[in-house]
């Protein structure tokens, strides 16, 4: 949902704000300004009311989110058993992988408070990347690095508590 009701109070426009956000997001930060401007223009702002689903498990909504304001809870339904995983806060980005190709959500994300998100969908992302095929490598690089960092941190923080799961480690080796 637009925040343009406030635009007469703020000196900058939504496009400029979006651009700032994207420049600070790992997924986009490697892209040149020309491309970032297009993404900043194509992004939309949406408000999810408290308790509303941002995405649902098993669905392929094809959207990536940056939480501008609010809080959202990640949950997983395991054969009827609901597990709360973690909360996403203002300033966090999620869903980059889903922009790259069809993936069904393994989790649901639900807003805990009214949450404003910056949203980009796969259609817009891929259409834009078609114009800059050389830049896809930079995105892949950012994603690969992020996965690597995640597993590295996981191993150093929690590796010793893994127990039976040890055999399933190695997501960086896919």
């Amino acid at each position: 949902m637009s925040s343009s009701e406030k635009n007469n109070l703020t000196p900058s426009c939504e496009f400029q704000d979006n651009l700032e956000i994207l420049r600070q997001t790992y997924f986009f930060s490697g892209l040149p300004l020309e491309t970032l401007k297009i993404f900043a223009y194509l992004c939309t702002r949406e408000i999810f009311r408290q308790g509303e689903h941002i995405f649902r498990q098993d669905e392929d909504d094809g959207r990536a989110f940056y939480i501008i304001d609010g809080r959202a809870r990640l949950e997983r339904d395991d054969d009827g058993k609901k597990i709360e995983i973690r909360d996403y806060q203002t300033g966090e980005f999620l869903g980059g992988l889903t922009l790259l190709g069809e993936t069904r959500r393994l989790f649901s994300l639900k807003s805990v408070t009214d949450t404003t998100c910056l949203v980009l969908n796969r259609g817009k992302f891929l259409k834009t990347m078609e114009q800059f095929p050389n830049l896809l490598a930079r995105i892949c690089n950012a994603v690969a690095k992020s996965i690597d960092t995640w597993e590295d941190r996981f191993l150093s923080d929690r590796g010793d508590q893994c127990g039976d799961c040890m055999g399933r480690l190695g997501v960086t080796l896919i």
Binding site: M1, S2, N8, L9, C13, E14, F15, Y41, L42, E130
Partner: protein
Amino acid sequence: MSKAKITIVKRSLFSWIFAGNLKLQLLLLLIIVVMVTTRVLPLEMQKRIINEAINLRNIDKLLLYSGFYLAAVFFSSVLKYLTNIIETLITQRTTARMRKDLYHHILTLPLNFFRKTQPGTVVNALGSELTLPGNFVGMAVASPVTNILTLLAFAGYLFWLNPLLAAVSLSIYPIVVFLVPLLQKGVNKYNKKRVDAARKFSAKIAESISGIHEIHGNGAYRIENRKYDALVDQLLKIRILWSLYRFAVKTSNGFFTSLGPFLVFLLGGYLAIKGRLELGALVAFLSAQEKLFDPWKELIEFYQVYQDGRVNYDKTMRYFDIEPEHEIEPKGRAPLQLEGSVEVKDLSFTTDTGIHLLDGINVSLNPGEHLALVGFSGSGKSTLALCIGQLYKYTGGNIMIGDHEVSELTKKDMINNIGFVAQSPFIFEGTIEENILYSTMAQIDDNGQGKNGKMPTLDDIIAVLHQTGIFADILRFGLNAILTHDQNEELVKMIIRVRKNFQQDFGQELADYVEFFDENKYLYYSSVSENLIFGAADKDEFSDTNLARNEYFLNFLNTADLTTPLLSLGANLCRQTVDILGNLPPDTVFFEQSPIDADELEEYKILVDHLSKKKLHEMPAEYRQKLLELALRFTPGVHKMVALPELLETLILEGRALFREKITKDDPEAITFVERSKYIYSQTILNNIFFGKTKSTSPQAQERIDQSIIQLLIEEDLLETIIEIGMHYQVGTKGDKLSGGQQQKLAIARIFLKAPRILIMDEATSALDNKSQARIQNLLETRWKKRNTVISVVHRLDTIKNFDKVAVMKAGKILETGTYNELMARKGMLYELVGKK
């Protein structure tokens, strides 16, 4: 389709001359005989005027013969005009019939033919290549008969005047008769080459246009230019040589026939000097001899049209001389009602080049059973579905539907019993309704078979819209329709009533998603012009497109101190939009949030260039007008590249009141202001119900709005009316105004409406969201099972659990068949596929 239509490619060009044109051609013959007589008469009058009137100084005879002369010329001209009209009628009617019959034939040709043929070739054949054959048919009787009769009449008259002179002057024509066909051979040779080259040329253009994405993607402009230029050069050479030969025919004909007067002067002059020929006779002779030239020239031209037309006709018909793979309709029996069982035995399908796409396929289905075909892409599952649907002609083995072999059934038998939903369904230009009724119409067309020959009712259609999940989409199209003043008076009244109830029931709930019209507030989801005018223009000069040119409105902007800030906003918008979108292709994805349309981008790029060099007030008037147009379109909630300055917002709000006051006084008929009790004709039905505009197009907002609005429309008994309006939504060329998912739902809906005994779906739900996919799967399992047989090529393995049979294919063979549970327990190919997914 009649027999004559099927064999159009076997018809000779001559067969068109009298077929369907007999009466016209006979009438033409009659007119020609009278016309030729009237042509000879002036010659005789010419002679008599000189010999009997002038020489004998007889005024009465002069007037009498001149009168006859005038009448003959006038009558002859009228008749000539009549023959031209009849010739044109015959030409155009024949060309139209050729085009229709050939098109009807082409549509029945095997799919295989179209894989090798570019659309451009077909367009060219049906268009330009049939023009000359049509011209020939129009001229076929009139031209030779008129010109030969005229020639004979003039020649006879010449012999009557002076046999010696006549024999000498006509001696030239045998030379021409010998020479012209020789040269014409050259014309024909190059015309044949021209037809081939033109075909390649059209095919190349069609290929480039359909492959434009690939050309842009690879930047392969030069490669494609080279290919195209080479074809143009080839066509150029052929056309030059063709024209050279054509002109050679004309010139040699002209040269030899011009020699005629020379011989007459020489010999006739000698005879006249010697007193053996009257001067009047010599004048009449020269005049008649000169008149020989026109019919002769026309005969030669006719000969050329015949030769060119024949070449074009033969080449075109030979190109399409292919038999349809299956009879279109049964002869001597009604179309069959087939049983729902399908049995495939030892089926093979080998391409012309010897590739085995299917090999030794065996699978059987009882009536009402559902089969899922799974496997990697390229495994042959779609090919098998296409063979069962008779879209491919299998090369070995059998496919039995009931106790009938598919290859022996007619198309009509198949369409009466089978429905096919393709992977990339084709949506035709027209309305949603036309597309939804497409399959049913095709089935009941001509012979009234199927569904008792009746069209489905609106209730039938609405049921199918619900089943396929396209209901909400069509409702939206209906709600987004803009009504005109002269229609739906009742509906307009109802919407105004609904508006009140909407505010009461849902106003609060939807406040997040809707910006309500409020005279005292700036509307961020309406354009600057809408904010200023705050109403619908009843006069054209106040419409959005004309506003920036409207003197009255421009004066008002000046009075309200709005001109400069708006120009500055326009300039800012222009710079920002061009900066972001300047190098992007004209795709809706990029331009739906832009105030500049894709086709205006180049114009605004030039404007940006000027903006960098000149100050706003120095800009030429036409550029200022463009900037003002842009500013008036600016809708802050949609066009996010710039912000609306606070000062401008205040000025516009003040301007709104000022404009209302001013226009109410100066031109009260110009605008209908936005008021709760009035319908706003410039806005959609939805905006009228809302008395506002939707703020967000996000899926969850859409869903919320849909839920509330459907509930409201049901309560008000308006749902069907809005759906009917939505059904008239124009889907655009190839359905390009619909999303991929909407296109697929529409394709499924048109087959569901037909409710065939056997349904074949080739990855028919691949573009659908989970909910829609599940809805359709659920429907097939609950409503279709045990009643209608279903063969489904499946791409998502989580949907196949409840199929009666699953056949796993690899490299054109079925590796295993069984229920889902059986195959999973066997831990074979399906198990592996599911695991991989």
